[in-house]
Structure formats: C-alpha cells, structure tokens
C-alpha cells in the first residue's frame, strides 16, 4: 500500500516543480528575448520619457529579483499576471470570460479525435498488411504536413461555402447553435491529432492483438466480436488515455490557431488581440493558464490510469 502511494506523492511533487518552472518561464519569456517591451508597446519612434514611464508602469525599472517577487505576489493575491494594459481589467477575468467556448471546443475535438482514431486503428490492426491497413497507414504520412489553419480553410470552402452545411464562422446562440457552429472547428482540431493517434494506437492494438491472452481467449473459442470489444478495446483504453495526455498540449495550441480561422471569440482570439495590442500581462496570463492546465490535466490522466489499472495495485 505504501509503495503505491509513494508514487502519487512523487507525481504530485513533480507536477508542483513543473508548475514552479512554468511560472518562472512565463516571467522570463518576455525578458529573455531581444527587444524592449516598452518600445514595442509605444512604437519605434516614441520619446525616451514615454518609454521611461512605460517601464515604470510595467515595473521594468526595478531590479530583476524585485520584478520577480512582484510577479509572484500578484500571482498569489490576484491569481493572475496583473491588469491588462488596454482593458485595465484583470487578466483572470478576461480569460475566464473567453475560456468556456475554448474548453467546449477542446472537449469536442478530443472526443472526435478519440472515436475516429480508435476506429481507424482498430480497422488497420485487425486487417494488418491488407489493403485497408495500407490505406490507413498512408493517411498519417499525408496529413502530417497539413497546416491546421489550411485544413480549416478547405473545410470551410467545402462544407460551408459550397455545401452550406455549416456556418462560415462565428458562434451561434443557444446550446444547440453553439454545438452546431463548433462542429467544423472541432473536426479541424481533431484532424490534426488523428495522424499521431492512429499511428501509435495501431501499434498498441497490434501488440494487444498478438498477446498471449488474446490467443487464450481465441483458443477458448470466444466469438471474435467479444474478444475485440470486451477485451482488446478495454486494454487499449489506457494507452489511448495516456496518449491523449501527451498530446493535450498540442491540442490546445492547435485550438488557439483554429479559433482564428473560424472567427471564434475564445482564448485564441484574446491572444491575438493581445499580441496586436502588445498587451503583455494578458499574453503572459494566457501562457500561464494554458501551461498550468496542461500540467494538471496530465497529472489527472496519470492518476486516473493508475486508479483504473489493477496492475499498479500489487497483491491484496
């Protein structure tokens, strides 16, 4: 019992350490790269006095360690990276306002990616070295180099402009309208995840299909649909979950870009507005919240798979 919980403690400590690193990285991210933030905000030809006062507003005139202390202090008292330079409100509120639609999009994309990838991987693995398998295996090679925004554009062209099945962009009112208008963006995000998912899942699936226990069950005369749906799929659920944990970071990044293509007012559009306004606290806030979410999601997935997998429990 003790040994299995020591695993949990290690995982928690590691996540905590990564979060500390993340906070530091977010602090340094605008300081490590060349260029003066104040100059970027005010433009190339601003007066030295203006730059100086902007330095003061941003706290850049203080020694580095004091800036860091202030940064961490704001983080703990306010839960964010300070107030937006443009809107004046706290970045936390700005992010909270935009987060729901982005979250919904991510969840929809995840579900689509898992269902489609599992289906394709199962088909490929059960038809190993046959035509279907070859076709499914070519798919990741072709789609690996597809820019996600370009896929989105082509999907809009086909399904919205030509076929009129979906709106061209934006999000409609109401629950059903929201889900409906997020369908095409979610497909786009899922599309970018499917190649890697299919590739690894097919390999996992083959390993499971060739394992002794499947032979035992087949030798014992169980119908192949029972073996596939009850035993093989259950065994591939854990690796799928783990894979999703690894890919969640890419998925969030892709979502931000896809929002831009479909004109969805989520975290992505907040980021791009902040970038064109040089609104540093908002940019930092988005980076911080995204990264911490990724760390927490990974930790949760690790814990769930530990919870579900009897192999981790040991005897008794």
């Amino acid at each position: 019992m003790n040994t299995s919980y020591s695993w949990l403690v290690t995982a928690l400590l590691r996540a905590l350490a990564v979060i500390l690193f993340v906070v530091t990285a977010v602090f340094f991210i605008i300081r490590i790269v060349p260029g003066d933030p104040a100059k970027m905000i005010l433009g190339e030809y601003s007066t030295p006095e203006a730059i100086k006062s902007m330095h003061h507003t941003l706290g850049l005139d203080l020694p580095l360690w004091e800036q860091f202390v202030r940064f961490v202090k704001t983080l703990f008292t306010q839960g964010d990276t300070g107030n937006s330079i443009i809107a004046g409100t706290s970045t936390r509120e700005l992010i909270a306002e935009r987060a729901p639609v982005t979250l919904l999009l991510i969840v929809m994309a995840c579900m689509m990616a898992i269902i489609i990838a599992l289906l394709l991987a199962t088909l490929a693995a059960t038809h190993k070295d046959k035509l279907l398998d070859h076709l499914i295996r070519i798919f990741p090679t072709i789609t690996l180099g597809m820019p996600i925004f370009w896929v989105g554009m082509l999907l809009i062209l086909l399904f919205s402009v030509r076929l009129h099945w979906f709106p061209v962009g934006g999000v409609s009112e109401g629950w059903i309208g929201t889900l409906y208008s997020l369908t095409l963006p979610a497909i786009t995000v899922a599309f970018s995840q499917i190649p890697t998912l299919v590739r690894s899942l097919r390999a996992q699936m083959l390993e499971i299909l060739e394992s002794d226990f499947v032979v035992t069950l087949r030798a014992a005369g169980l119908p192949s649909r029972v073996i596939l749906f009850k035993h093989v799929l259950r065994n591939s659920a854990l690796p799928t979950l783990m894979l999703l944990g690894v890919n969640i970071s890419y998925l969030i990044g892709g979502t931000l870009v896809v929002e831009q293509v479909f004109g969805i007012k989520g975290i992505g559009s907040l980021l791009f507005t902040a970038i064109s306004n040089r609104d540093f606290p908002v940019i930092q806030g988005i980076a911080l919240y995204c990264a911490i979410s990724v760390v927490i999601i990974s930790l949760l997935i690790e814990m769930i798979s530990w919870w579900l997998d009897p192999r981790t429990k040991g005897k008794q």
């Binding site: 590691r14 350490a17 990564v18 690193f21 993340v22 990285a25 991210i29 605008i30 490590i32 790269v33 060349p34 260029g35 933030p37 970027m40 990741p140 090679t141 072709i142 690996l144 180099g145 597809m146 820019p147 996600i148 925004f149 370009w150 554009m153 082509l154 809009i156 062209l157 402009v161 970071s249 890419y250 998925l251 969030i252 990044g253 892709g254 931000l256 870009v257 831009q260 980021l271 791009f272 970038i275 940019i283 988005i286 980076a287 995204c290 990264a291 911490i292 990724v294 760390v295 990974s298």
Partner: protein
C-alpha cells in the same frame, strides 16, 4: 524499435549487405528523396525556369486562372503564382533546415547527458523538458516569435528555445537503455572516461533514431513557419512564403480558391517527402 546495436552486425553469410542494395530495397526512401530533390532542383533553378519575378506586379492581369502563360494563374496583384510558390520554397525550406541545426545538436547532446549520467543531471533536464512541454507548442511559438520580432530572426530564436525537446526526449530514452548494457558497465568499471564512451559509442548508437525524428520534426517546423506566416508574425512580406500566400488568398477563397489551396499543397508535398524519407531511413536502420 528502440533496439540498440552494440557492434556492427554482419549478415548471416558473413558480409554486410551493400548500402546501395539496402536503399534500393526501400521504396519509401527512394520516392521521398526523389520528391524532395525535385523540389530542391526547382527552387535552385527557378530564376532560369520562370520568366517572372516573384514580386513583379501586373495589375492588368490579376486573379487569372491557370493558363499556359501562368501555369498556376496569378494572384490579386497579378503576380505569377507558380514563380512565387517556388521562390517561397527557397525561403521556407532554407529556414526550415537552418532552424533545425541548433535544436538538433542541443537536443541530442542534452538527451545523451540525461540518459547516460542519470541522477540529478537527468532530473534537471527532465524537469526542463516537462516545463517546455507544458506550454502548448503553438502558444509558445506564437509568443516567442512575436516577442523576438517578426521575421526570420524570430523563427530561429523560437526554435532554439523549443525545438530541442523532441530530440532530448528520444535520445534520453535510448541513452538510458544503452547505459544498461553490460559492456558499458564493465567499460565504466575499467575506468574508460565517460566523454569517450559518449562520443565513440553512444553517439553512433543514438544518431540514426535522432535523424529519423529529425525528418518528422522538420515537417512540424515547416508547418510552424507557415503558420506564423499565416498569422502575420512570421516571414514578412514581400518575401514570398507559403504561409503569407495562404493568408493573402483567404479573402478570395470563394472566387479563386487555388490561391490558398496551392501553397498548402506545397507544404503537404514537402511533408510527404520528408516523412517518407524518415520512414525509409527507419526501415533501413531497423533491418541492419
């Protein structure tokens, strides 16, 4: 897949199969290389192939569909799409290759250190990679590229910061299993210096796998360069770039859809070529 080769293994009849023979038997490598070479040849010789200049405007002949004169038609400013497409290949491919150099070397080096020495070196490097991985790839690319200023320099800085992680992770795993091998342990007890083991024995072992990863990673990098261009924080106009071409064409998507579609296909084409090369190399090294 992660099998480690200690010494060069001979074939059963005692001789090594010739390299040429092995390459010939790997169609994916052949096709991929051919596709890539065609692109490179076009990019190098485009000034002699095309009579047009990439930023030469001809407002009397804008948004023309493909014809004998303009193979892929013209854009909204009357520039020849094919010429721009290939000039953009020059820009994007050279940046792609150059931007991979530093991250590849750093990643392989750090991965070997972490895997071979383990202990606190490993802990620190793993914490670093975990931290960077926590940031969604496109988020960090967008922020760093923006903060370090649009243009080529921003792209190089961005990938120096984030590009090494993939290599470090793969090489770390390989190096850790390499260290478990018995002869390495015995070499260590005999007092062979670590640097020597790393450079003479570990590096040749991890390099093939790292190169295979390099191929797929270059595809990812190319897509990132194009994405930055599309978002307007990558390569700045008028330098031709596939990303800005797609973004320019977006306004004409209903009338002249090929303006956006064609540069995208160029990216996909390059992606297929590189992943085929990667698959082929992996095949060759696995058979060996």
């Amino acid at each position: 897949m992660k099998r480690i080769r200690t010494e060069p293994q001979l074939h059963q009849d005692g001789r090594q199969p010739s390299i040429i023979h092995r390459i010939w038997n790997t169609p994916s490598l052949l096709v991929g290389s051919l596709m890539f070479v065609v692109l490179i040849v076009l990019a190098v010789f485009i000034p002699y192939i095309s009579p047009y200049h990439p930023s030469e405007q001809n407002l009397s002949a804008f948004l023309q569909p493909p014809s004998a004169e303009h193979w892929l038609g013209t854009d909204q400013l009357g520039r020849d799409l094919f010429t721009r497409l290939i000039y953009a290949a020059r820009t994007d491919l050279s940046i792609m290759v150059l931007a991979e150099v530093v991250p590849f070397c750093t990643g392989v080096f750090l991965g070997m250190l972490a895997g071979y020495y383990g202990k606190w070196v490993d802990t620190v490097i793993t914490l670093l990679t975990d931290t960077f991985i926590a940031f969604p790839f496109y988020l960090i690319v967008i922020i760093v590229a923006f903060a370090s200023g649009a243009g080529e320099r921003g792209i190089y800085i961005t990938f120096m910061l984030v590009g090494w992680i993939v290599f470090a992770r793969v090489v770390r795993g390989l190096s850790a299993s390499f260290r478990e091998q018995e002869w390495v342990a015995s070499a260590q007890t005999l007092g062979l210096p670590g640097v020597r083991i790393i450079l003479r024995h570990l590096l040749p072992n991890v390099l093939p796998q790292a190169v295979v990863v390099l191929m797929t990673d270059m595809v990812g990098l190319l897509v990132a360069i194009v994405t930055l261009g599309y978002l307007g924080i990558g390569i700045a106009p008028p330098t031709p770039d596939w990303g800005t071409m797609i973004s320019d064409g977006q306004s004409f998507i209903t009338t002249a859809w090929w303006l956006s579609a064609v540069p995208g296909f160029a990216v996909v084409y390059t992606g297929i070529a590189l992943s085929l090369v990667g698959d082929g190399l992996a095949d060759i090294w696995r058979k060996k």
